[in-house]
């Protein structure tokens, strides 16, 4: 089962600060949405509001077209997978997974059958009689997922579900979450502060900062053409160049630049370029020549610090292909494709 969600001008105030201000978001049925942002950005508060654990100060939440703003968690078509899994320690895995069905009055035989099917689906079919403390972190995570899916929610809310797992297991679980979501068709809303995780699983990423939405879009778009300076910084490494409005567009330490987008305001501006956009060569917008400082090999690329001749104060970080052989001390001519740059008003905070 699945349902769309509409969030309308949502605000939430805690005693001494505003956790969410003016959040508006449309989520399609069956979408995998990732709420991404640093700690304190309001993403978990938003998830709690969707789950019914917090009633917002203002605004409305509609799930499947019905107003759910003040409805208790038990009466919503949502289930939450908690960060610490919150499994019932005194129950077997079978009873854990069947709990929601038991609350709905399903007969024991039937609910156990469904619980075992779900445990099998998450790869724990032989362990239905075990208790949570006998499991590893990754296994507990799978039980929590099975328990949340057992009641066939329209919307599954995941609060940093992979935070406690080691890196390798996290990557595996990302793939599993994604394929389970495809299989069930349920709308998934997943909170994380890890932008790689967000890019790996999201249909759309919602970048949040200080209780506001900074950007919403598919991972490629949010990464390549972020809507704000904050989103640009949070989505991955970026080089920032100061710029001012000049007679022929933008004035930067590397000379004129025809702005790739229409400029808003009078400046000053910040030009953002991703490390992999910097090329060795002279096509496009030239960054002049530079000397390679440090360089480290990452398998697919070299990550280099480049000291530019045109502007001694700027050190650019670039990902250069291995065939360029950017050994420390080597000299290179650099350029970028101007269409792929992003320009923002500089007064936005960079935190």
């Amino acid at each position: 089962m699945t349902a769309p969600i509409t969030i309308e001008s949502l605000c939430h105030d805690f005693v001494d600060f505003r956790a969410l201000s003016d959040i508006a978001l449309e989520i399609d049925a069956g979408e995998y949405i990732v709420l991404l942002g640093p700690s304190g950005c309001g993403k978990t508060t938003l998830l709690s509001i969707l789950g019914g654990f917090i009633v917002p100060t203002r605004g409305a939440v509609k799930i499947g077209g019905r107003d759910m703003t003040g409805v208790a968690p038990a009466k919503r078509p949502t289930t939450t997978m908690f960060q610490d899994y919150a499994l019932f320690p005194h129950m077997t895995l079978r009873d854990n997974v069947a709990f929601g069905l038991r609350m709905r009055g399903m007969a024991r035989r039937e609910r156990y059958a469904r619980a075992e099917r779900l445990l099998e689906l998450v790869g724990l079919h032989g362990d239905a009689g075990k208790r949570p403390h006998e499991l590893s972190g990754g296994q507990r995570q799978r039980v929590a997922l099975a328990r949340a899916l057992a009641v066939e929610p329209d919307v599954l809310l995941l609060d940093e579900p992979l935070g406690a797992l080691d890196l390798k297991l996290r990557r595996t679980m990302q793939d599993e979450l994604k394929s389970l979501q495809r299989e069930f068709g349920t709308t998934f809303i997943h909170v994380t502060h890890d932008q790689e995780e967000a890019m790996a699983i999201a249909d759309r990423i919602v970048v949040m900062n200080r209780g506001r939405i900074e950007d919403v879009g598919p991972p490629e778009r949010v990464y390549q053409q972020p809507a704000s300076l904050f989103a640009a910084n949070f989505m991955g490494e970026t080089n920032r160049l100061p710029a001012t409005r000049g007679s022929q567009g933008l004035e930067t330490p590397f000379g004129h630049l025809a702005p790739p987008q229409a400029l808003v305001g009078d400046g000053p501006f910040t030009v953002c370029l991703r490390p992999e956009q910097i090329r060795s060569g002279s096509e496009g917008w030239s960054l002049g020549s530079a000397r390679v400082g440090d360089s480290a090999f990452f398998g697919t690329h070299f990550r280099c610090h480049l000291h530019c001749d045109d502007d001694a104060e700027t050190t650019l970080i670039a990902h250069l292909p291995p065939e360029v052989q950017p050994q420390p001390g080597a000299r290179l001519t650099l350029s970028v494709d101007p269409a792929r740059l992003s320009v923002f008003a500089a007064e936005e905070s960079i935190s």
Partner: protein
């Protein structure tokens, strides 16, 4: 090697200090002779036979059990509800409420007993096992509250939230999740309260009249002087307490925790 010897010596001394009185009590309960003093003669089970055949003593034993179980159960239920309320809801002045609940632990049993005696007199409530039971709830409630409250962490709160999220109402959250999840702490509180009530003398002495608890009955026996019979009762009471503690150790504290 010498250190080893010292360590063992110390250990033996410490245990002798703790268990010698009990051991001599138990030993002389088997003595064939009316005074529980050396030299030892016997052994005999005569005194145990007398104790078990003594109606007053057996009645007092029954009263003690009733008061202990009843008052501990009441203290546990009230303590649990207070702990649940204070741990799960933001209440005005909850720090003070917690303090007020625990404070009676610092008041001596004598003062609690005297206070209850005065109050019951004023209210016209007669002295009885009920009065003693109420007194035991008064002294055990803070203990039960403190033990159960300490076991209610944020992790448990999230688990209750998960139960609500999956469709459980408040009653089912408490009966099917909170209580079973906190069972070790609740049982520990219950058994501790029970041993305290079982042994308690001052309050029981002040608040009972015709039907009395075992410690009060033993005391009235002791007034007529030492006898091997009192040793036999003491041994039986010790056996009862030890059994409870052993059960507690085996089934609650000893259980392997995640």
């Amino acid at each position: 090697m010498n250190m080893r010897g010292l360590q063992w010596g110390y250990l033996l001394l410490a245990f002798a200090f703790i268990y010698l009185p009990v051991a001599s009590l138990v030993l002389f309960s088997f003595k064939d002779g009316s005074l529980p003093l050396p030299p030892f003669e016997g052994p005999t089970l005569r005194w145990y036979g007398e104790v078990l055949g003594d109606r007053r003593l057996m009645a007092a034993l029954g009263h003690s059990l009733m008061v202990a179980v009843g008052s501990s159960l009441t203290a546990c239920v009230l303590g649990f509800l207070a702990a649940y309320g204070l741990a799960r809801h933001v209440l005005p002045g909850s720090v003070w409420l917690r303090g007020l609940l625990i404070a009676p632990m610092t008041v001596s049993y004598l003062i609690v007993g005297l206070g209850l005696l005065i109050v019951f007199n004023q209210l016209g409530i007669g002295l009885s096992l009920w009065a003693a039971g109420i007194g035991h709830v008064v002294i055990n409630l803070p203990l039960c509250f403190a033990i159960i409250y300490a076991s209610m962490g944020a992790q448990q709160q999230n688990i209750e939230r998960a139960a609500r999220d999956l469709g459980a109402g408040e009653v089912r959250v408490i009966t099917q999740v909170t209580v079973p999840m906190l069972a070790p702490a609740i049982l520990a509180a219950f058994f501790l309260a029970m041993t305290l009530s079982w042994d308690e003398f001052v309050i029981a002495f002040l608040l009972t009249r015709f039907e009395v608890t075992l410690p009060v009955e033993i005391w009235s026996l002791l007034r007529s002087g030492l006898s091997s019979k009192t040793n036999a009762i003491g041994s039986l009471v010790f056996l009862g307490s030890a059994a409870i503690v052993l059960l507690l150790e085996l089934f609650i504290f000893g259980r392997r925790r995640p």
